[in-house]
Symmetry: C2
Subunit: 167 residues, 2 copies
C-alpha cells in the first residue's frame, strides 16, 4: 500500500516554477529544508487550490518504471490526500491515467485522512500518515522531512532505494 | 465506518426518473428486486457516466438526521466507490457538502475497492464490500440485495433500523 502526492508527483519543482513566475525570483530549494510546504512557499495555499496545479505536476524520477515492476509483485494501492482540495480529485485521477496507465481505477483511493487505510507496507513522506500505520513504514525523503529523525520508519531517498528494499 | 452510494444517496428514484424521461415508460421498482442495477436498468452504464447524475441524487429518507447524531458518537467515514466514474468524484463531494455539511473533507474516502479500508463497523448494500470486512457488518436493504440471505451480516431496512442498532 502506497501513497501518491510527493512520491509519484513532485510538487517542489511546481512550487519553485510558480513562485518564480509570480515573483520574478526563484526560491532556493535548500531553504525549504525542514519547513512545511506552507512555510517554505507562502503562496502554496493558493496554488494547491488553483485548477491545473495537480494536473501538471512533473513525475518523480524513476517512479514510473519501478512502480510498474512493483505492481507485478504486490497488491498495490495509490492513496492520495485529496478531498481538502476537491478540484484536485479529477486532476489526480487524470494525471495517474496519463503517467501511470498500468494503475487501474480499482487501485486508487482519494481521501482526507489516511488513518482509515490498512495494508502491510506504507510509503509516505509525512509522519502524520506513517505514525498511525501498524505495518512496515518507509519515509520518503522530501525537503519538509529531511531534517527530522526517521524514528521507527525506514528512510528512503529515491525510488531506487525503494526498489532495493522491496523489488 | 460507513459507505455512501445507496445509503445516503438513493440511486433508484433517479434511475426510474431517467428511464421514464428517455423511454416514456416508468419501470417498476418491484421488478428490480434481485437484479443488479445494470440488469434492472439497461441504460444504467450510460447514466452513471453522465455529468449531473450523482450531483442530483435524492437523499435517502432520515439519513441526514440520523447520521448527524451518529457523527457525534462515532469516528465516522463516508467511503464511496467512485473512481470507476471519475466525473462522479467532485459531484459526490459537492453533494455531500450540500446535504451533509457536518461531514468534513477529512471524513471522505473515494475509492475503487473498499478492501483497503479498515474500521469497526461497515454499513453497505453490497456483499462484495461486506464479505471482506472483518468487523461488524450491516447489510442495507436495496432492491438488488433484497432477495438474498443476509448470511453473517445484519440486515437493516431503513435508517431507523440503523439508529436502533447503533444510536
Amino acid at each position: 500500500m502506497w501513497t501518491w502526492t510527493e512520491l509519484l508527483a513532485d510538487v517542489y519543482p511546481q512550487f519553485l516554477d510558480w513562485c518564480e513566475r509570480d515573483t520574478g525570483t526563484r526560491p532556493s530549494l535548500a531553504a525549504a529544508a525542514g519547513k512545511s510546504e506552507l512555510e517554505a512557499f507562502p503562496r502554496a495555499p493558493e496554488y494547491v487550490r488553483t485548477p491545473g496545479f495537480f494536473r501538471t505536476l512533473p513525475v518523480m524520477p524513476d517512479s514510473r518504471e519501478i512502480l510498474a515492476a512493483l505492481n507485478q509483485r504486490y497488491e498495490l494501492f495509490i492513496v492520495s490526500s485529496a478531498t481538502e482540495y476537491p478540484q484536485s480529485l479529477p486532476e489526480k485521477q487524470a494525471w495517474l491515467g496519463e503517467h501511470f496507465p498500468f494503475i487501474s481505477w480499482r487501485q486508487m483511493v482519494f481521501c482526507g485522512s489516511k488513518r482509515i487505510v490498512s495494508g502491510d507496507i506504507m510509503i509516505d513522506d509525512h509522519f502524520k500518515n506513517l505514525d498511525f500505520f501498524p505495518g512496515q513504514t518507509l519515509l520518503f525523503t522530501q525537503p519538509h522531512n529531511q531534517l527530522a529523525p526517521a524514528g521507527r520508519h525506514t528512510r528512503v531517498h529515491t525510488w531506487s532505494d525503494i526498489a532495493r528494499l522491496l523489488g
